[in-house]
Symmetry: D2
């Protein structure tokens, strides 16, 4: 998927550096960076639309973090413990 072109005819060689290959590395990396930014923008849109529909953005982010948590048992243990700590110091 992120392979280097194998049949690529590297013409330029600047200062012992395969310039074409370097350019290709940089270009592919930046293209992926731009795709990530587009996805992050889509995520922002989802939250904006959710807010328009009456949902709370901050709470949605907390909810999403919970859904993403793989170890639900560990999560529950932590929540119980947090509750005990909170009651102990009254917050």
């Amino acid at each position: 998927m992120t392979e280097f072109p194998k049949d690529h005819n590297e013409t330029a060689n600047v200062g012992g550096i395969a310039a074409d290959r370097l350019q290709s590395i940089v270009d592919r990396y930046i293209r992926l960076e731009e795709e990530k930014k587009a996805l992050a923008s889509d995520q922002k849109d989802i939250l904006t639309e959710a807010a328009s529909a009456g949902f709370d953005k901050k709470v949605l982010r907390q909810l999403i973090r919970i859904v993403q948590t793989k170890d639900k048992d560990a999560l529950e243990t932590q929540e119980t413990l947090l509750d005990i700590y909170r009651r102990a110091i009254g917050v």
Copy 2:
């Protein structure tokens, strides 16, 4: 692009919350998060392969940041200034 489904028949309503809609928001957000992670993993692969080809990962990251810089004139001004500062204090 990240629109909410319009003809969606929301059956569940829990505690005054449109549960189906909430589930949909969360699912779409998380799917985008996973796509971002896949892209980040591809970027990591590119750098790993570049390292195998003899390039320096850390320097590649610096190079990529330079290529991504839109205002090249401002960049050049900063580089000149940094050079002056460095010579002034001898580092």
Copy 3:
């Protein structure tokens, strides 16, 4: 507190830059950075000792964030809302 020395006799002037002043700025900034690192290390020690005493580090960090929260009413509203969202989608 972070004033520049006023009666400072700047002897060196490299490339139009007041070298002594630049050196002083950098030194004072870095000294503060080191003090911050020492405090962060003290914080780490506190959590390590708390862990030895049987407290859970991760939960302690969550507790500390709650104590630091200024607007306790807003916090409570968010917690109630999160609870509603969680029940709605069953997590």
Copy 4:
């Protein structure tokens, strides 16, 4: 420095938790956090005053990072390499 008080008479015990000790842990952690914030604020002041004196904040930050770099030889090698890469792809 970050020791737990040894002669501390823990009176409260809530849900099996030594409440006094927990409160002390949290208080000391937060006090250090506040001290860190004060230092960060002092650092900001230094940069603001430096900017008033004609220095460029962004370039100062880059300079500070260079001064903080322990391995100056590795830094020089990276700078040389970055220069080669830049010339290779013409940025």
